[in-house]
């Protein structure tokens, strides 16, 4: 053991003499010299697990790219090549079904982990001074992942792939001045078409993964290595992949097993579960305000609901470092927010009607109130002093 260590040390020294390997590792990532907090708990695990899943996505992605064809032209049976190549991976490529399910399930699992990671950040107020930049980098990763899953979802060229891209790209057309030109530039066409699929493929396999990795290197301060948790996590993931890879339509929607038809929208469309809360907010804003259309408000609300997390370091004025030290008002507000987020997520998966619309509007109000009223209620709160830990 010690001999191996010496030899390895010799090798590192040999490389360090020739290139700044160790120095680069220390300066480029914070993994090497950043001390982990003492109170690392179960809640700190999700970020590390998310990295594991992200690596799995990169590897499965490499193998899917070997068989996938980003091409909307029809084959001799009248099926778009992109759609047909995904079916080919599922049926004809040896173990292709497993690699594809690992990739599609991995996307949902990654988002579950990211949401839990964000929730623990609010629980422990990790974004407070001096970690504002780490939080902002993390938010950039969250938005990057949302963009990555969005462009990735177009790849199978199914009905929901097509219509999700149609709706979200059109949402940008609402932005003032250049909105309409921007959407045409983004699609590379006047409708979602082959040009759109090809550029989304390019973003999905090159541009976004590269950007995400760069952000990740600068964001991650430390990792948690606990083999018991990893095993438990892997068992759950493998069970889902083998027994419920579509998760009842939540991880892979049934309508997406139908090829894209630009002339007909499916009777019911909804994004995948991790976007349904923002989608509910888009649908729930139906009143014009200050002579601006309800349409623009809905779109602004949807984007704002994702971006508003970035403001947390400046909104949270409470002094408690963890949720235990925070006062009852903050705990109540966080509980209400979690309920509203879950309710919006559910409402986004079902068709809307007047009662559901009202419920979504109430939840949208709670969602934004949680953030916008935070400077007020977090100051009003009486933090529980805890023998020098909470008090400053």
């Amino acid at each position: 053991m010690s001999i191996a260590n010496t030899k390895l040390g010799g090798l590192v020294a040999w490389i360090d003499e020739r290139t700044p390997l160790t120095a680069t590792w220390k300066s480029a990532t914070r993994l090497a010299g950043y001390y982990a907090p003492k109170n690392v708990t179960f809640w700190y695990l999700f970020g590390t697990l998310a990295i594991v899943v992200l690596v799995s996505q990169l590897i499965t992605g490499i193998f899917l790219t070997m068989h996938y064809k980003p091409n909307t032209s029809l084959n001799e049976s009248g099926i778009p090549l992109a759609f047909a190549s995904v079916e080919y991976i599922m049926r004809d490529v040896p173990w292709g079904w497993l690699i594809r399910y690992l990739h599609s399930t991995g996307a949902s699992v990654l988002l579950i982990l990211v949401y839990l990671h964000m929730f623990r950040s609010i629980l422990f107020s990790v974004y407070q001074k001096p970690r504002e930049l780490t939080w902002l980098l993390g938010m950039a990763i969250f938005i990057g992942l949302a963009a990555q899953t969005f462009v990735g979802y177009l790849m199978p060229w199914g009905q929901l792939s097509f219509w999700a891209a149609q709706v979200i790209i059109n949402a940008f057309s609402q932005l003032p001045f250049l909105g309409q030109d921007f959407t045409i530039w983004l699609r590379g066409d006047y409708v979602v078409s082959d040009a759109t699929l090809n550029r989304f493929f390019s973003f999905h396999v090159i541009a976004f993964p590269a950007a995400l990795l760069w952000l990740l290197i600068h964001h991650v301060p430390h990792t948690v290595k606990d083999i018991r948790y990893f095993l438990a996590f892997l068992i759950v993931c493998v069970a889902v992949i083998f027994f419920r890879p579509e998760a009842g339509g939540y991880f892979l929607e049934y309508n997406n097993f139908t090829q894209a038809n630009p002339l007909q929208t499916p009777q019911h469309i909804a994004p995948l579960w991790y976007f349904t809360s923002y989608y509910s907010i888009l649908r729930s804003i139906t009143y014009p305000l200050f002579s601006i259309d309800a349409k623009l408000w809905g779109v602004l609300g949807m984007f704002a609901s994702m971006l508003i997390f970035a403001l947390l370091p400046w909104l949270d004025k409470s002094s408690g470092k963890t949720i235990r030290q925070k006062g009852p008002i903050f705990k109540l507000a966080l509980a209400l927010f979690v309920v509203a987020f879950a309710a919006l997520s559910y409402l986004g998966t079902v068709p809307t009607d007047p009662q559901r619309l009202l419920l979504a509007q109430i939840c949208t109000f709670i969602y934004f109130a949680f953030f916008l009223l935070m400077p007020i209620y977090s100051r009003m709160d009486k933090p529980r002093s805890n023998e020098g830990r909470g008090a400053r």
């Binding site: 149609q166 709706v167 409708v191 929208t265 068709p351």
Partner: protein, 202 residues
């Protein structure tokens, strides 16, 4: 640095000017480098050319029937509205947000009560003006339609619940801001319509 050193002010100004000019040239070069990459993502000549008019035979379209054709990658509906269906437009007049199509997109020769050249034949781009889904035709009436008791027939967008009447006019308090777009079209005899070509002199 010694304070008694003499500065060559002329040379210093030259250096400053050179640095400024260099920065401007650098920014200009960076912008110039970006242009081809950004521009390469705009619609290609091929995509721009793919907008040929479409000729449709409507001789077999009976009153109350509807057909869909593809024009510029979008669904275009042709509906043969019966006199009874046209009658409903008077009732919906008060319930739609832009009854006279003032802010909606249509050729001038279709800016009328029925939003069409011939009152019976309706031609419209079947794309919701909210976020671009294609609404579903629902010609049943009242409760049976599943929409509301006063529904007189029209179109329902499954994405965000906007509704349109039988002239493609959007109902009030819905997410869609405008009526359905009417494309340019013209008659070629009585039985054929050419979508994508303007009616001249109308």
């Amino acid at each position: 640095m010694g304070s008694d050193e003499k500065f060559d002010c002329g040379r210093r100004r030259l250096m400053a000017a050179a640095a400024a000019a260099g920065s401007v040239a650098g920014v200009a070069a960076a912008t110039a480098t970006l242009i081809p990459f950004v521009a390469s993502m705009k619609p290609s000549e091929q995509a721009k050319a793919a907008g040929a008019p479409v000729e449709v035979d409507i001789s077999r379209l009976k009153p109350g029937q509807m057909m869909t054709v593809e024009w510029r990658g979008k669904p275009v509906w042709i509906i043969n509205r019966s006199p009874e269906m046209l009658e409903t437009l008077k009732k919906t007049n008060a319930k739609v947000s832009d009854p006279n199509s003032e802010r909606s997109l249509q050729p001038n020769y279709c800016k009328n009560e029925t939003r069409s050249i011939k009152p019976g034949i309706m031609v419209a781009v079947g794309v919701c003006t909210h976020l671009g889904c294609s609404p579903t035709a629902n010609f049943r009436k009242g409760v049976e339609s599943g929409i509301d008791a006063e529904w007189a027939g029209g179109f329902y967008c499954p994405c965000h619940g906007s509704t349109y009447d039988l002239a493609g006019r959007v109902f009030k308090d819905k997410l869609a801001p405008d009526n359905l777009e009417i494309p340019p079209y013209k008659y070629f005899g009585d039985a054929k319509i050419i979508i994508g070509e303007e009616t001249k002199g109308a």
